[in-house]
């Protein structure tokens, strides 16, 4: 009896939550169905299910540039995440496992980098990269992605490394291990969870980053997905179905990763509490 009463009282809330699900999911569903239609079919009616699945929309989107952008995004993400993780873990190791004069100052210096953004420094960076010939190179963009992700990544890793007990390394040091061997054989393996969740966060960032890539990659051959997709839009103004297919392809990797490893996503999200 009691239980049933509560259910009834909660019905409006459940309906409200359900409505929000529709607001979130319907546009995505609508994109999906229209990405499979021929141009004339969706011009007639964009609400119906496609009568025939036009997979060639996807092939056309893929071959008209998206393949290139996709590979570029994978390359830039992998390289920049690798170096962000390496350099940040080295720095976090130095900051947590040694006592030295400027420890606090160096940490504050790196941490305050969190408040600096590309939006307020692109003019000098543009000038700098022009003069040292990094403008319009993927290497330049990778350097920027690494630099801009270091503060947050160091911050996360530091707060993880700092909690490791000291005695394990003392023992290793007695055995004559160098400090680098301790970093490589002990700190990195124990720190795996934080390495993984920060790498995941950095992946979401680099995969979707727009402004840096827009300013510093001029050649279409070099572009990442977010900028390339935007260029594609200009080339296929009336071909909505191809554009929508491109949207689906571009979005699939992160969505699948999220559905497979939700826990890690949520962990990284709260550890960071800093959006893109």
């Amino acid at each position: 009896m009691h239980k049933k009463k509560i259910c009834w009282r909660r019905l409006p809330i459940q309906l409200f939550l359900l409505l929000l699900n529709v607001i979130v999911l319907y546009p995505i569903f609508w994109i999906l169905i229209n990405s499979f239609k021929s141009t004339s079919e969706f011009l007639q009616n964009s609400f119906n299910l496609p009568s025939v699945l036009h997979f060639e929309n996807y092939l056309k989107a893929w071959s008209s540039g998206l393949n290139r952008y996709f590979l570029n995004s994978v390359f830039i993400s992998v390289v920049s995440i690798f170096f962000t993780t390496l350099l940040s873990s080295l720095a976090a190791y130095g900051l947590t496992r040694f006592r030295f004069k400027f420890r606090g100052a160096l940490f504050t210096f790196i941490l305050c980098g969190l408040s600096l953004s590309i939006e307020s420094s692109f003019v000098p960076l543009f000038k700098l990269f022009q003069s040292i010939h990094l403008y319009n190179t993927q290497f330049g963009v990778i350097l920027l992605y690494i630099a801009f992700r270091i503060p947050l990544t160091v911050f996360l890793m530091r707060s993880y490394f700092i909690s490791f007990p000291k005695d394990i390394e003392e023992a290793a040091r007695m055995d004559g291990c160098s400090s680098f061997a301790i970093y490589w054989r002990m700190i990195l393996p124990i720190g795996k969870p934080i390495l993984a969740s920060s790498a995941l966060m950095n992946l979401i960032f680099t995969w979707n980053e727009f402004l840096t890539a827009l300013i510093f990659l001029e050649d279409q051959d070099l572009m990442t997905i977010p900028v390339g997709l935007n260029a594609l839009k200009g080339e296929m103004l009336q071909e909505w179905n191809i554009q929508l297919a491109a949207v689906v392809i571009a979005s699939i990797p992160l969505i699948i990763m999220f559905l497979c490893m939700q826990k890690q996503f949520v962990k990284g999200l709260t550890a960071g509490s800093v959006k893109g």
């Binding site: 409200f16 720095a91 420890r103 790196i110 600096l116 000098p124 160091v154 977010p226 571009a250």
Partner: protein, 294 residues
């Protein structure tokens, strides 16, 4: 912990170097550049003192941009803090079941798309002839609401249509942050309140909100910072148009640099964005370092 003279510096040096050269140096240079007038592809630079800043104060485009940023700010705070909190409480404390969990997952999904992808979807939804919104209005017979230029194409509605996109995309993200904070509240608190006969509403007011106020402050600060860095949504949806009705500071700064070739003027706007975001970042760092959160 080992006492060492040089060793730790070697570990920190590469990260330090990159941060110093690519984050700090440009910020300092941007400040200096803002007192100059110069072009993208020339090394000539003229010192103009405060002229760029004085021009900003009377530039109607800049003033429109600032007021649009404020519109963004109000909407972002309402949805990404207010509605996000409401949803977090509803999915965690009221619908404590599989349905709540499912909602949580689904609301979070839009934040995983790139803004470019969402922008294409948004343009398609608001496209005047085949778009979802106009079609919906026609289907239910509200023909007076059908706009011929589309909601993105007419000056009176464009800014709100642009500003609605981040709400659709990121409300669920902020809800998730708050959900995690709510999950850290010990169950005993609610059990005690339940015994005292407190309603769910009272429980939310007396337990949940006070217990997550730190995370709430973090979300407010994050929202303010991301609002003043807004760029991609405007660039992709309207390019600041029609006219300059949807310009935001980030967009105008970009246009000044790469469209109008007024690099110094763009730097001055960069300084404005920097001052606002820096001030709020300091608050964020203070909060998150004092709290148990990190």
């Amino acid at each position: 912990m080992k006492k060492a003279r040089y060793e730790p510096y070697f570990y920190i040096a590469p990260a330090f170097f990159l941060v110093a050269v690519l984050l700090y140096y440009p910020i300092v240079m941007n400040f200096l550049y803002s007192f100059h007038s110069f072009k993208a592809y020339s090394s000539d630079m003229t010192f103009v003192g405060l002229k760029n800043y004085l021009t900003l104060l009377t530039d109607s485009r800049f003033l429109t941009a600032i007021s649009n940023n404020l519109i963004f700010l109000v909407l972002n705070l309402i949805f990404q803090v207010g509605v996000a909190l409401l949803l977090a409480i509803l999915v965690e404390n009221v619908a404590q079941n599989r349905f709540g969990k499912l909602c949580r997952t689904i609301y979070y999904i839009p934040s995983l798309f790139s803004i470019t992808a969402i922008a294409i979807m948004w343009q398609f939804i608001f496209e005047p002839s085949v778009g979802l919104v106009n079609n919906l209005f026609r289907a239910v017979g509200w023909d007076s609401l059908v706009s011929i230029k589309g909601l993105l194409g007419q000056e009176s509605t464009a800014i709100y249509t642009v500003a609605a996109m981040p709400q659709w995309q990121f409300t669920g993200y902020f809800m998730m942050l708050l959900v995690v904070a709510i999950q850290k509240i010990p169950d005993e608190y609610y059990e005690a309140a339940e015994i005292d006969g407190a309603s769910k509403f009272r429980q939310a007011l007396m337990i949940t909100i006070p217990m997550v106020k730190e995370m709430l402050l973090v979300t407010v600060v994050m929202t303010v910072i991301s609002t003043f860095k807004s760029f991609a949504e405007v660039y992709q949806l309207t390019m600041g148009g029609p006219g300059y009705s949807t310009l935001v500071v980030g967009m105008y700064s970009y246009q000044s640099a790469f469209k109008f070739d007024r690099m110094g003027y763009s730097s001055a706007m960069g300084v404005v964005i920097f001052i606002i975001t820096f001030a709020f970042s300091v608050i964020q760092l203070k909060v998150s370092r004092s709290g148990e959160e990190l």
